[in-house]
C-alpha cells in the first residue's frame, strides 16, 4: 500500500475542525490516496465503490468522511492545489529567481503527463468544485514567481498572470490527454518559454531545440 500519500500539511484540516481520532484520520488519508489513484487512472467517473475497495474500507466509510462524491473530488483538488502552492512557495525562495517560473511550469507539465491527474479531469466533468480559495492561493504563488522572473529579466514585463495560467492550464491538459513524451514536452515548453522571454534574452537556457 505505498500509494503517493498526501503530505500531512496538505490534508490538515482548516483550523477549527475538531481533530479526528487516530484511526479515522488514517482512514481519511487512505481514502484520499486511493481516490487520487483511482480517479487519476480512470477519470472522475470511476465509482466510489472502487475507491472504497482500493482504500480497503467499506463504502460507508468513504461517505462518512466525504458525504458526497463531489466532496471527495473537492478534497482531492484542494489537496493537490495545496501541494502545488507549497511547491510554488519553495521555488519562490530559491536562489535562481529567473528560472523559477519556468521550472514550476515544467514540473507541473511533467506531473500532468505522468499521471492522469485529477486537475484536468475535474474541469471536464462540468462539476463545479468550489475550490476558489485554494485556487486563489496558488494564483498568488504563481504571481510571485512571475514577478520575480520579470524582475530578473527572464520574462517580458508585458506578460500578465492570466496568460501564464492560461498557458499552464493548456499545457497541462495537453500533456495529460495527448500523452506527450519527455522530449516532446521539452520542445513544446521551450517554444512557449521562448515566447515569454524578452527579445534580448531569447535563445536562453530553456531554448535548445533538437
Amino acid at each position: 500500500m505505498t500509494s503517493p500519500k498526501p503530505s500531512p500539511e496538505a490534508t490538515s484540516d482548516p483550523t477549527g475542525t475538531k481533530p479526528l481520532r487516530a484511526d479515522a484520520r488514517r482512514n481519511r488519508e487512505r481514502i484520499l490516496a486511493a481516490a487520487e489513484a483511482v480517479f487519476a487512472e480512470k477519470g472522475p467517473s470511476a465509482s466510489t465503490d472502487e475507491v472504497a475497495a482500493h482504500a480497503g474500507v467499506a463504502i460507508g466509510t468513504v461517505f462518512k468522511h466525504f458525504p458526497t462524491k463531489q466532496a471527495l473530488l473537492q478534497a482531492i483538488m484542494k489537496d493537490l492545489l495545496a501541494r502545488l502552492t507549497q511547491e510554488v512557495d519553495t521555488l519562490a525562495t530559491d536562489d535562481a529567481p529567473g528560472e523559477a517560473l519556468f521550472t514550476f511550469i515544467t514540473r507541473m507539465v511533467e506531473q500532468a503527463a505522468q499521471k492522469r491527474t485529477v486537475v484536468g479531469l475535474l474541469a471536464e466533468t462540468g462539476i463545479d468544485l468550489q475550490v476558489a480559495d485554494s485556487v486563489q492561493l496558488l494564483r498568488e504563488g504563481i504571481e510571485a514567481l512571475l514577478t520575480r522572473s520579470q524582475q530578473a529579466g527572464t520574462v517580458r514585463e508585458d506578460i500578465h498572470l492570466d496568460e501564464v495560467i492560461a498557458l499552464l492550464t493548456g499545457l497541462c491538459q495537453g500533456a495529460l490527454h495527448a500523452g506527450w513524451d519527455r522530449d516532446l514536452q521539452r520542445r513544446t515548453l521551450a517554444i512557449v518559454f521562448e515566447g515569454l522571454r524578452p527579445f534580448e534574452a531569447r535563445g536562453g537556457a530553456a531554448g535548445t531545440y533538437s
Copy 2:
C-alpha cells in the same frame, strides 16, 4: 425537424461502405448533427436518448446507425477532423502563406472556446477512439501549413510538427475548459506565436500585448 445538417463532404463515409437508402442516409446525418450538438452542450456523458430525441428519431434508430455510443462518438470525431482538414487545405492554398498556420491555430482555439466542442471531451473520456486515419489526414494538412510558414520565414525552421500539434491540443483544451475570453485567447496565443517566430521576425503582427 430539419436541423442544420453537416455538409455532405464532411460526413462522407470512408470509401467502401455500402451506400445507404436516401432516408437512411438522411437519418444518419440528422443523428450525427444532433449528437454533435448535444455532446457539445452537455459533454459526452449526455445520454443517447437525448441525442435520439434531439434528432427526432427513436433510440433504436440511433443504435441501428451507430451500434455503440462509442461508435457514435467516433463518427463525430471523424466528422470534425474531416472538417478541420478541409479548412486546413483551404488555408494552405490561400495567398498569405506566412500567416496560414497562425490563422488556423487561432480559429481552432476560438472554436474550442466557444462551444464545448467534442474534440476536447473525447480525449477525456479515456475512450480510445481509433480515428487514426482521420487524424493522419489532419496532421498532413497541418504539416503543409507549417512548411509553408517556415518557407515564408514566419516560423522557425527548427520547429517540428509534433510541437505544433502539442501546442494546438493544449491551447484548445485550455480554452475549452478554462473558458478564456477573446482577449485572453489573443494574448495567450500571441505569446505562443512569438515563441514560434524566428529571432529576426520577432514582435510580428500577432504580437501586440496590452
Copy 3:
C-alpha cells in the same frame, strides 16, 4: 396473476396523452396493480424492486412508466380516488337518497379495514402527493351525497362537508391501523351516524347496538 385490476376508466390517461402501445399499456396496468398490492401489504416504504418483481417486469420498466417512486404512489392514489369518486357518483343516483352517505362511509371503512389501503399510508410518509384535482372531485361527490341526505332528512342540516370528510378520514385510518373487525366497525359507525342524524331521526336504521 388475478390481482384487483384497476378499472379501465380509472387508469385512462388524461386526454392529450399519446396512447401507449398495447404491451406498454398492459405493463402499466400490471405495475399499478402490483404496486397497489405491495404497498397495501407493506406500506409505502416497500421497495420499488419488490413492486417490479411482483409485476414480473424489470426495475427499469417501472421507472420508465413512473419516473419516480412518488409518481407511482401518486398514480395509485389517483386511481383509487377515481374509483371512489365513481362509487360516490353511482350512489348519488341510487334510489335510497337518505342512506347514500351512510352507505358510502360504511363501504370506505370496510375497504380500509380489509386491505392496508394506500390512502392512509400516503399521508403518513409525509409525502405530498399533489393529487388535489382528484381529491376535489371526490369532495364534490361526497358533498352531493351529503346534500341529498340532508334533503332526505337523515343528516342534520348544520353538518358541513368538512366534518364529514374529517370523520371519514379518521374512521378509515382507525379501521386501517387498528384492524377493527366487522362487528366493531358496525358499532363504531353506528355511533357516528347517530351523531349525524337529526334529533327526530335518532335510533334510525343504522343504529342497532348490541
Copy 4:
C-alpha cells in the same frame, strides 16, 4: 445540554429492571426525550443518529440503552401510554364525572393535531410494538371514565369500551394526518359526542354547531 426531561413517573421502568447508575439513568431520559421530539417532528423514519445528536450523546450510547430502533420506539410508546394513563386517572377522580370521557378524548385529539405525535406514527410503520401491558393499563383507565360517564348519564349504556377506543384512535389519526384546525376538531368531536349521548341528553354542552 439540559433538555426538557420527561417527568420521572412517566419514564419509570417496568418493575424488575435492575436500577441504573445515576448518569446512565440521566442519559436514558435524555435519549427518550430526544427521540420523542425527533420522531414527533420527522416521523419514525428519522435516523437514530439524529436522535443521538439531539440528545447530545453518541450513537453507541443510544444503542446501549435501546438495543434496537424498535426498542426505542417501544419505549417512547410506553412512556406516552403511561402519561396518558396518568391523565386518565386524574380525570377519573375529578369532580365533573359526566364530562370526563369527553374531556379526555378532546385533549387527546388536540395533542394529536398539534404535534406529529408518535402515537399515530407507530401504528403506521407496521411494526408490532408489543406494548400490550401499557395499553391494557390505558384501556382500564378509559373504561373507568366510560363507566363514570355512563353512570352520570352522559353516555349511552349500550356503548362498549371497544367502540370508544376505536373512535379515539380514528379521531387521533385523522386529526394527526389531516391537520384539522381547532374549529374543525370541535365540530367533528361534537358530532361524535352527540352520537355517544343518550337520547334524553342530546344537544348537550358539547354539541354546539356553527
